[in-house]
């Protein structure tokens, strides 16, 4: 009985001391972490629409693969200049999270990969600008189709990384579709038919 109490006492003391250490660290690091994360997000959004002068704010949320993602309207002195959606696609070994921005004509301005854990050396080439990402620029919703082989009109898959390429293409298309539905008045009816 006495030994049991001793054991309990020694464990409790260790656990409390450890809790205090972790608590103190959390107290000092969490604000730094919070601001760093906020700043990173703002910077990423800013990169997607560099001409926007007003702070970019979330306009609402939409759902893809069972998770909610935000979309944004980038404004310059009160007038919208770009639309941005955060979106995701199911890759080979991870959820690929990305941002896509559209200009007012609903053409893609830029695509940025925020997070991916695809196969090193193969799937992670989706982050390479010249090889893959830059071909999204200037494309419209209907052109977002993945092709295995040479193409200028559509999106060309990276050889050896078709699944990752498709995940990005589909994710971007879902995001663009959402933005077109919300903001691309005239385009809506025409695009609905073809993509279904």
């Amino acid at each position: 009985m006495k030994e049991m109490l001793k054991i309990i006492l020694s464990l409790v003391v260790i656990f409390i001391a450890a809790g205090v250490i972790m608590g103190v660290t959390y107290k000092y690091t969490s604000p730094v972490r919070f601001y760093a994360e906020k700043k990173e997000k703002e910077e990423a959004l800013k990169e997607m629409a560099p001409e926007a002068t007003d702070p970019i704010k979330a306009a609402g949320t939409w759902t893809v693969h069972g998770k909610a993602y935000e979309y944004y309207v980038a404004k310059s002195s009160g007038r919208p200049v770009a639309y941005i959606a955060s979106t995701a696609g199911k890759g080979y070994s991870s959820h690929i999270k990305m941002l896509v921005s559209l200009d007012r004509a609903m053409k893609i301005k830029d695509v940025k990969i925020l997070h991916q854990q695809e196969t090193p050396g193969l799937g992670d080439q989706i982050e390479e600008r010249e090889l893959f990402l830059d071909q999204f620029r200037g494309k419209g919703l209907l052109q977002l189709v993945l092709i295995k082989g040479e193409t200028r009109e559509n999106i060309q898959a990276i050889s050896g990384a078709t699944i990752s390429s498709r995940a990005v293409t589909n994710g971007v298309r879902d995001g663009v579709q959402t933005l077109v539905d919300k903001y691309g008045n005239g385009l809506r009816a025409a695009t609905r038919e073809v993509t279904k």
Partner: protein
């Protein structure tokens, strides 16, 4: 009481009982993070810090920790220092944390950390334990950097993210499969050196 030989402890951690190449402990993280030199190095630094702190704490508390509950106590001490490392990294090393965040928490389960607490720190005084933790951590760091150099150079043709060759000679090296190849080759090579030049008997040890 014999005089503590810090030199031996230090050499032990880096060569004689190198965690990866000699004790063959913590091989899975060693394979998982060494697809690049940078990741290997940063993981090594995190482990170095955790091991030093854990050994110091365990050694200080060795009289207080009841032997019957020593494993839960050690695990909790390890978890504490890993959490501290994780939070500090998340706050001040954002770029690194993006790549490494997932693996940092796994340090809790590294066999090498627990084994040094149990084998060394719980039986020795404060200073020798700190030296042991630091040199074991350093040995781990060196092993990861060596593997990282080998794999990144062959797999991506670059070092620390800077392209050197311009081609990717052996892509398989940065895939997990290549990690095992690299590990085996490196271990064999070091054993060969040891036998040939230092008359050692090579390493044994089972993988964890």
């Amino acid at each position: 009481m014999t005089k503590v030989d810090y030199g031996t402890i230090f050499k032990n951690g880096i060569f004689g009982e190198n965690p990866v190449f000699r004790l063959a402990l913590s091989l899975c993280p060693a394979v998982a993070v060494t697809s690049g030199v940078k990741n290997g190095f940063l993981m090594g630094v995190a482990v170095l810090f955790v091991m030093t702190m854990v050994n110091a704490t365990v050694s200080l508390l060795r009289k207080f920790i009841n032997p019957k509950v020593r494993i839960p106590s050690y695990m909790f001490i390890i978890a504490t220092w890993v959490t501290v490392t994780d939070q500090v990294m998340a706050a001040y090393q954002r770029a690194v944390y993006k790549d490494m965040g997932l693996y940092i928490m796994l340090i809790v389960a590294f066999a090498i950390v627990l084994s040094r607490a149990e084998m060394f720190a719980s039986r020795n005084k404060f200073l020798p334990s700190v030296v042991d933790g630091a040199s074991m951590g350093l040995g781990f760091l060196l092993a990861l950097v060596l593997l990282g150099i080998f794999r990144e150079f062959l797999g991506k043709g670059s070092l620390w993210g800077h392209p050197i060759l311009g081609t990717k000679p052996l892509l398989i090296m940065i895939l997990p499969t290549g990690g095992f190849f690299a590990m085996g080759l490196m271990m064999g090579f070091l054993n060969w050196i040891d036998r040939k030049f230092f008359g050692g008997s090579g390493s044994g040890g089972g993988a964890h």
